[in-house]
């Protein structure tokens, strides 16, 4: 399979609203017991308006967004920086585009943004994809 061309955009992948119940399902599935993600009082005392949506949940949403767009691709690397903590409930979108195609290896790099209209860069991520040999 031929990888998509540079600058190709991912279809916007909208998720949510991510509410307290969703965050709880995530924290249970991931084993994350950080009270910032579970306890509104702790989150409030730390300066947040509600429980904090785990950054790794935001980063993790990139993989299904990629899988929905390119089902045959494999995610080899996923890197994220968490710039703007989001408080639940919140609806987020995953957007992105291909920034690099490595000729010969069929590997592409996708720059991704996870956030809201007000906080569009809650998570900036980069994913490396490859396609299995035919």
């Amino acid at each position: 399979m031929t990888p998509p061309a540079p600058q190709t955009k991912l279809p916007i992948w909208t998720v949510g609203p991510i509410d307290a119940a969703w965050v709880r399902r995530y924290t249970e599935a991931s084993g994350d017991d950080n009270p910032l993600h579970r306890d509104p009082e702790t989150a409030s005392a730390a300066g947040f308006s509600g429980i904090v949506v785990p950054g790794l949940l935001l980063l993790g949403l990139c993989e299904p967004a990629i899988r929905a767009w390119q089902p045959a691709a494999r995610v080899n690397r996923l890197v994220g920086r968490f710039l703007q903590p989001l408080a639940a409930p919140v609806q987020v979108s995953v957007t992105g585009r291909i920034v690099l195609v490595t000729s010969g290896t069929q590997e592409v790099v996708v720059r991704l943004f996870v956030g809201t209209p007000e906080q569009p860069m809650a998570c900036i991520a980069e994913a490396s994809l490859s396609w299995p040999e035919a």
Binding site: V15, W22, R25, Y26, E28, A29, S30, G31, D32, D33, N34, P35, L36, T42, A45, A46, G47, F48, V52, P54, G55, L56, L57, L59, G60, L61, E63, P64, R67, R74, V75, N76, R77, L78, V79, G80, R81, F82, P85, S128
Partner: protein, 117 residues
């Protein structure tokens, strides 16, 4: 450590990726919940007085982790210099044949409890 199928499916479902047999690339975070790792982290940041906030995280894998397979997982922690306080975590999952299958790296910011982020 083993990739538990129920744990992998639960994580895949909450990420919204549909119900099939994929193991999310972020699955190794599940291992960070182990008591041994919590104890090691507590030596760097006392959970009674601090909170940890992820600043960055990376995952890479040579091939997808497989449900039911067992890996040797190693994790190195170090305090980074400077303020605010940060902890760097570098880990790897190696097959029983000695091949590194997956790696992770994280930077955690240490927040005093009750202080605005």
């Amino acid at each position: 450590l083993t990739v538990d199928a129920r744990e992998a499916l639960a994580l895949a479902q909450v990420l919204g990726g549909g119900v099939d047999d994929w193991v999310p690339i972020i699955f190794p975070i599940r291992w960070l919940a182990l008591v041994e790792i919590r104890v090691a982290l507590a030596a760097f940041a006392d959970p009674a007085s601090t909170l940890l906030l992820h600043e960055s995280q990376s995952f890479s894998q040579r091939s997808a982790l497989r449900m039911g397979e067992t890996y040797l997982v190693t994790l190195n922690l170090q305090a980074l210099s400077g303020q605010p306080r940060r902890i760097e975590m570098i880990g790897a999952a190696t097959s029983l044949a000695g091949i590194v299958k997956a790696e992770l790296r994280a930077t955690l910011r240490v927040l005093p409890r009750g202080m605005a982020a």
